[in-house]
């Protein structure tokens, strides 16, 4: 696995580390149950502070990408695609609830909302 830290990047260093490990897990470069380098070793190799690497690992763990075993280290969590979908679904549901609430306050109709989503989807597609 390669990790590249860019000082020119606007992302804080912990986020750069986190995102690169997350990507490596998602695209299968890191396999399930694979042992990750310790936070201290990673800090030493990348020449960053231990707090930085710890934060990256903590967030990866919160997002379910890795799990830590006390005294043994951090391992890649098995990525269950159904589970991932389930999680994303719940996130979407929460966002929709919030969106509907806001729409009600602003007096937007459902059709207007759907129209907005369509426009934004097109913009999003262009960005990608």
């Amino acid at each position: 696995m390669n990790i590249q830290i860019k000082n020119s990047s606007n992302d804080p260093i912990y986020l750069q580390i986190k995102n690169q490990i997350r990507d490596a897990i998602i695209n299968g470069e890191l396999e399930a149950e694979e042992l990750l380098p310790s936070i201290r070793l990673l800090a030493k190799e990348l020449r960053v502070s231990v707090i930085t690497t710890k934060r990256a690992y903590d967030e990866l763990e919160n997002d379910g990408f890795i799990h830590s075993v006390q005294g043994k280290g951090s391992f890649v969590a098995p990525q269950n695609s159904d589970l991932m979908k389930e999680k994303l679904l719940r996130k979407i549901e929460a966002n929709i609830t919030e969106m509907l609430h806001c729409a009600q306050l602003a007096d937007f109709s459902l059709d207007e909302l759907i129209e907005m989503i369509k426009i934004m989807e097109e913009e999003h597609a262009e960005c990608d």
Binding site: P12, I13, R40, A43, K44, R47, S49, V50, I51, R55
Partner: protein, 282 residues
Amino acid sequence: MQNAIELRGLKKRLGSFELGPLNLSIPKGCIVGYIGENGAGKSTTIKLMLGLMKPDQGEIKLLGKSIQDMTPEMKKDIAYVFDDLYLPESMDLESVLHFHRNFYGSAWQDKTFSELNARFQLPNNKSIKHFSRGMKMQLGLALALSHGAKLLLLDEATSGLDPVIRDDVLDLLLEYIQDENHTVFVSSHILSDLEKAADYIAFIHKGQLLFMETKDDLVNQYGITTLSREQLEEIDDKAIVGKRTHQFGVEVLLKKELIPNDFELEKVSVEDIMVYMIKGER
């Protein structure tokens, strides 16, 4: 978790200078950069911690133990490097080694020392008098790391050294804290590249601790940009930490949370923050 360094209400008066009251807690397993101007009180703090000076008031605990209660055996857990070696200049490598074997007794690690020595390639047949400043610091660091200490205090040890040696020091410090029971406290008026490895930054100014924060949070809180004078007027005064006015604009260090999100800000270094804070005050 036990703190590696704990200062409580520490006070020391030296002529017209007054340090403290200083409160500082440093968790073990991290690297702390203790920064400030020359004369801000960094060396005084370290001297108090090492028992070279006695506090007027307050308590100092190192590795969970009050320093007055430390036996010589416990002091072996503390290592220190100053800006100079402070060993008789007529000593050569061999006699320095012999001295330390006796000084640290069973805690002394010949193997660690010879490994570090080989890495630095210090001259065997010269007396310390003829060592360069860099060599003296390397020897000091090698000695400090060779008696199994859990706390390493560096007082201006890397100031004025060339970048290559400072780079070695960075590696050594990072290697040292691979053991999570090890802690490093670096005092310096210029951290430069050591900043990379620092977990926390403590900033002392005129004898007072202005803040101690994780470096990541600190650096993310601030940004630098150059504005025109008109743009500057629109910004909340509280957001401006410090500024440098020149003929073609004003360079400002800003608190990110107090300014609009769409501002284009550049990343800052710890040094930028230190300089702007001190100058902003003037």
